[in-house]
Symmetry: C2
Subunit: 200 residues, 2 copies
């Protein structure tokens, strides 16, 4: 004997969430059914809505339910001539909170990882190449994570930028090695941006 | 600048899950959108279905999408004359896996906890009283958790049963003090059932 069919399905379905095993899934299902049906209904709806409507910005690849995200739709941002390359949409939020950057972004949605079979096309570098070739950029700031893969990805993109005659700089001071960009405070990130160095 | 409205709503909504903070919620939302949209759609649907249809069994209070759960609907189980009182629907699954019990259940959906304002009516004891008075029971097995609250609840129910002229027994050997019934293996539970003692 197990739980009823619909409860069993809910427990199974909750396991698609990262870090959720059978016991957590069961605890979540009971919690929603017993103590927070309203929250559960809001979650079911928000999840359905997001899956139906949230896609990637056609220009920077961040998550948005529009064709083009708010930052990419801003003429001032577009006219800045500066592009910041980050690994994740969460990194945009972190950089924006530092208040030190007023240009555009490009989100890789990951980093180069040959061992996992993740190559340039998988992180949108063909699209980034087209942005580099468009002629409206004067600098590319490489704000990938300060990890081995993030550094390797930054160097790869710096080479692409240099080939197009663009300055590429890497954010520098204050980012702890091995850390994750999105968990760093705004002040530290502001220092990182101010102390960026050109990648040759 | 934050995430897009629908993504922000999804991250907020995921926080209704127990043990999920802002960072976990964000990681979950990204994971669903980026790597498992199919799993997310299944989850949204399973959650909606469960919220719409899963309620409590009219007889034993466990979760079911029927009026009466499969165990309560079994004439053999009903005719056994033995009722096992547990705290949670998960405990039924644990007891069933021990293979030692063939009677009916009653699920408290909690335990007495005066400090939290949880009294007899909140754990269905008025309904349990009616079952005791119906005249078709010969024994009540108290399988609440071996915690302070579980023991107090068992004693309270034993008194109710004795007042109705019913034998009440408490599962005993093998259940570690301070543990949770649902995490105990079937063999240990089988010993617990075999070694049960009458509560006077
Ligand atoms: Zn964009
Ligand atoms: Zn039932």
């Amino acid at each position: 004997m197990k739980f009823s069919p619909l409860l069993t399905e809910l427990i199974e379905a909750l396991r698609c969430l990262p870090g959720v095993g059978p016991k957590s899934a069961q605890r979540m299902a009971f919690h929603l059914l017993e103590r927070n049906r309203r929250g559960g209904a809001v979650l079911a709806d928000a999840l359905q809505q997001a899956l139906d409507k949230v896609g990637h910005c056609q220009r920077c690849r961040t998550y948005t339910e529009q064709d083009v995200c708010d930052i990419c739709a801003s003429p001032k941002r577009q006219a800045s001539g500066v592009l910041c390359v980050v690994e994740s949409p969460a990194d945009i939020v972190a950089v924006e909170q530092s208040g030190q950057f007023h240009g555009r972004y490009f989100v890789l949605m990951g980093h180069l990882s040959p061992l996992d079979g993740i190559g340039p096309a998988d992180i949108g570098l063909d699209q980034l190449q087209r942005a580099f070739s468009a002629g409206d950029l004067k600098e590319v700031i490489l704000a990938t994570n300060p990890t081995v893969e993030g550094e390797a990805t930054a160097h790869y993109i710096a080479d692409m930028a240099n080939s197009c005659g663009l300055h590429a700089s890497r954010i520098a001071h204050g980012v702890p090695v091995g850390g994750e960009l999105e968990s760093i405070d705004g002040t530290t990130l502001a220092h990182s941006f101010a102390g960026r160095k050109r990648v040759e």
